[in-house]
């Protein structure tokens, strides 16, 4: 057990979780006190001692599934879920029972296992299990579906995403959802559901389908662990912490996750900045206040008073490239900047592809920056000729229309990868802006190694920027914006 735990802790550290030695010891101590056959209890015990931030939960859960699945699987006994699955399945008729048995058989070949059950029957069973929210039957169906559709090949160093995709594609869950909704409609008391009821039913079924999807995922992962061992698999499925996800290459799911992380992140940042402003260093001696104070001590200035420094809030110009390759990065940055806009005297934002448009108006009077960011994609007028990034034209347009509004209180942030499709660079604009503005920053979402390769001309712009910052992850972005205010 201790060996397993050490391996697990090592894996957590590799995923980027800061697990200290004391925490490791605590975990070892905690494990002594809980019944080992209770897998859920083990999970929470480890989580309580090893994971100290809710953002790290996902990485922890992934590692846990991998490391502690193999024990429950090969030991056979003690896996409550599996046992329950069999019992439930048996009570639910012969077919499901068979499905459960085959799951136990753990056959790798798709062909041999599903016999006696046609795809239609399997779909019917899935439908039934979802309709009745029968977890045991769901697990049995998941096992059977993986047998039949995943087509897993032993020994391949993969994380199982493709197997999951293949299984779910064959089951066609969208159609199942529709069918479930149809069933709900037909079963309604008054003939039809009201819209509220319909919505509630839909949410309920979606939650059940999500549960089923997770059952399939667990099943696939369990088999992969058996095939290749926990440590090898852990390497393939390791998930980065939300702060460390590369924004430019994030999957859909990861983007959603980033989106959820962004809100608490920006709130924390705002609190921190507000505190920093209030508790800043002491300013110069306030002579008048000191003299006034000294009257109470007979004119002896015992207690000197200091002026509170009130650093001017900067005015921010955000100029963001929203062409396909860097769009999500621009969205996150705009979102973050507006979420803490109280820390700036004014934020003005401009987006471009090859044309440029001011989008400040979208953010005015909007409570949730995400809403405004969504509108930008639909309404901003950023196409000039062909919809490929042209930094030179966009920048010179910016200079022509708004350049004279940049002054010594302004900080200019340009967001983009500086991949200019071999157009003219227009770097004279930045040179001019640098002369006018307090600071000019360039935020590049590409890894530093790629800068200057191909059609990237970030080096040419860098000459006229106060700093060029690599901003691939939320962590880097937060760091930069935090220093800005």
């Amino acid at each position: 057990m201790l060996d397993l735990l050490s391996g697990f802790v090592t894996e957590l550290r590799r995923s980027g979780l800061p697990v200290s030695l004391t925490e490791h010891l605590d975990a070892a101590e905690a494990v002594k006190h809980i019944p080992l056959e209770d897998r859920e209890a083990l999970k929470y015990a480890l989580a309580a001692t090893l994971v100290k931030s809710s953002a790290h939960w996902r990485a922890f859960e992934t590692a846990f599934e991998v490391f502690f699945a193999v024990r429950t699987g090969s030991a056979g006994a003690g896996d409550a879920g599996e046992d329950g699955g069999e019992e439930g399945a048996e009570s639910d008729g012969e077919q499901a029972g068979q499905g459960g048995m085959q799951g136990q058989g753990r056959s790798w070949k798709g062909g041999g296992s599903g016999e006696g059950m046609t795809p239609e029957e399997l779909a019917e069973l899935l439908f039934k299990s979802l309709l009745s929210a029968d977890a045991a039957l769901m697990n049995a169906v998941a096992r059977n579906a993986v047998d039949r559709y995943a087509g897993m090949e032993p020994g391949r160093p993969v994380g199982g995403t493709y197997y999951l995709y293949r299984t779910l594609r064959n089951l066609d869950l969208d159609a199942v959802l529709e069918k479930l909704m149809g069933q709900a409609q037909a079963g309604a008391a008054g003939g039809a559901l009201t819209e509220l009821e319909e919505r509630l039913a839909a949410d309920e079924f979606k939650a059940r389908i999500e549960k089923f999807r997770r059952a399939v995922e667990t099943e696939i992962r369990r088999r992969l662990v058996e095939d290749r061992g926990a440590e090898a698999l852990a390497r393939s499925v390791r998930k980065p912490l939300p702060e460390d996800i590369d924004v430019m290459h994030a999957t859909r799911e990861e983007l959603a996750l980033l989106h959820r992380t962004l809100q608490p992140l920006s709130r924390k940042l705002a609190v921190r900045l507000a505190r920093k402003r209030r508790h800043g260093r002491k300013g110069p001696l306030d002579f008048r206040a000191t003299m006034r104070r000294s009257l109470s001590t007979g004119g002896v200035p015992i207690e000197p008073r200091f002026r509170h420094p009130r650093p001017a809030k900067p005015e921010i110009f955000v100029i963001a490239d929203i062409s396909g390759s860097v769009a999500s990065f621009a969205r996150f940055t705009l979102h973050l900047v507006y979420a803490i806009s109280s820390q700036f005297s004014k934020v003005r934002s401009f987006v471009f592809v090859d044309g440029i448009d001011e989008v400040t108006r979208f953010f005015e009077g909007v409570v949730d920056p995400a809403e405004a960011v969504a509108r930008i994609n639909l309404e901003a007028d950023v196409i000039w000729v062909d919809g490929h990034s042209d930094y030179g034209h966009a920048l010179s347009e910016f200079h022509r229309r708004w350049g004279d509004q940049v002054n010594s209180r302004s900080s200019v942030m340009v967001l983009g990868d500086a991949r200019n499709n071999y157009h003219a660079s227009g770097s004279w604009v930045l040179e001019d802006l640098q002369a006018r503005a307090r600071h000019v920053y360039w935020l590049n979402p590409e890894p530093r190694d790629y800068w200057g390769s191909g059609d990237s001309i970030v080096g040419e712009y860098a000459a006229h920027c106060d700093d060029v910052v690599e901003c691939r992850t939320l962590r880097q972005l937060e760091h930069f914006v935090g220093n800005l205010a």
Binding site: P18, S20, T22, E23, D26, E29, A30, H33, I34, P35, D38, E40, A41, Y44, A45, A47, A48, T49, V51, K52, S53, S54, W57, T194, E195, L196, R199, L200, D203, E204, A207, P264, R267, K268, V271, R272, R275, H279, V367, D368, A370
Partner: protein, 309 residues
């Protein structure tokens, strides 16, 4: 466990408060707190490992209530330290009763006129004794002889530097007072810290605690909570309430409805004599669940649009 404590110089932890995981869960349910696996598991471990629990999660998910319920369950006194910006040692730990000390000195001087008063060293020893010590929540929890539960509420509100005050008490269950020496706990209090996550707590603090993230409950648990906390609610209505709230939480709202708001809503519905919720009824009472106009509008649009057209 207790031998280990003795070796480490920690106070005896005494017999464990809870027999098993199930005992925790059952006990909490008895005092009206419906815990899920993770909550009861962490409370159980906190007792066995004698470690504080750091509870984090969105507002209104029962973080503070958890500490109160545990106090209820174990029959312990609840000592609460509400944190705020600017909290310092004299408010959290202890303070010398300055006025009383002054009086003592003056009394000594008066006595001097007739006979020889106490010498300075005697006096000093005297005024820095326990009689002149004002205990604040943290010290009180340590010195209590009866079982106590210490609740440090909203610990994320204090500054990073002030957090350090807590470290000694959290890991060693002791407080060092320069004039008196170290005060050790006679019994180990159960400690709960809550945080709304407005800032990152320091590593040092986190390391000393068990971490518990309390999120919004799932459908079944929320329904049970509603049924347990709202007397006179029908099963059907409780189910509907829980389901609507779950759907609301999937929307992107500024402030998702919390458990306490769900309960308020359910109580209102019961008071109004509502049997089943229809769109119009929900719309009229939605302001109890949602506190921003923009949220209400969005929820109406997404969920309840049937009644408007």
């Amino acid at each position: 466990m207790s031998e280990g404590n003795a070796a480490l110089g920690l106070p005896e932890s005494g017999p464990p408060r809870f027999e098993s995981l199930d005992a925790v869960r059952g006990g909490l349910a008895r005092v009206g707190y419906l815990a899920d696996d993770s909550i009861s598991g962490v409370v159980f471990l906190a007792d066995r490992l004698a470690k504080p629990v750091l509870v984090e999660g969105p507002a209104g998910t029962g973080k503070t209530q958890l500490a109160k319920s545990v106090a209820d369950l174990t029959g312990a006194r609840l000592i609460r330290l509400q944190c705020y910006e600017g909290l310092d040692e004299s408010k959290a730990l202890y303070e010398w009763n300055y006025r009383k000390q002054l009086l003592r000195i003056q009394a000594g001087e008066h006595g001097k006129a007739e006979e020889e008063g106490p010498s300075w060293s005697e006096l000093e020893e005297d005024i820095f004794s326990e009689d002149f010590l004002l205990t604040r929540p943290l010290l009180e929890a340590i010195r209590a002889t009866e079982p106590v539960v210490l609740l440090v509420d909203e610990v994320d509100r204090v500054e990073l530097e002030t957090e350090a005050l807590l470290l000694e008490i959290l890991s060693e269950y002791q407080v060092s007072i320069p004039e008196l020496g170290t005060v050790r706990a006679t019994q180990l209090p159960m400690v709960f810290l809550t945080s709304n996550n407005t800032r990152e707590l320091s590593e040092a603090l986190k390391r000393r605690c068990l971490y518990l993230h309390v999120d919004y409950p799932d459908l079944d648990r929320e329904r049970e909570i509603v049924r347990a906390k709202v007397p006179g609610i029908s099963e059907e209505l409780a189910d509907q309430v829980a389901r609507i709230v779950r759907s609301l939480r999937t929307l992107e709202l500024r402030k998702a409805p919390s458990v306490s708001e769900t309960l308020d809503w359910a109580r209102t519905l019961v008071l109004l004599g509502v049997e089943t919720i229809d769109a119009a009824g929900a719309k009229e009472t939605l302001h109890i669940l949602l506190k921003y106009q923009a949220d209400i509008e969005r929820a109406t649009k997404e969920l309840l649009s049937a009644s408007s057209n």
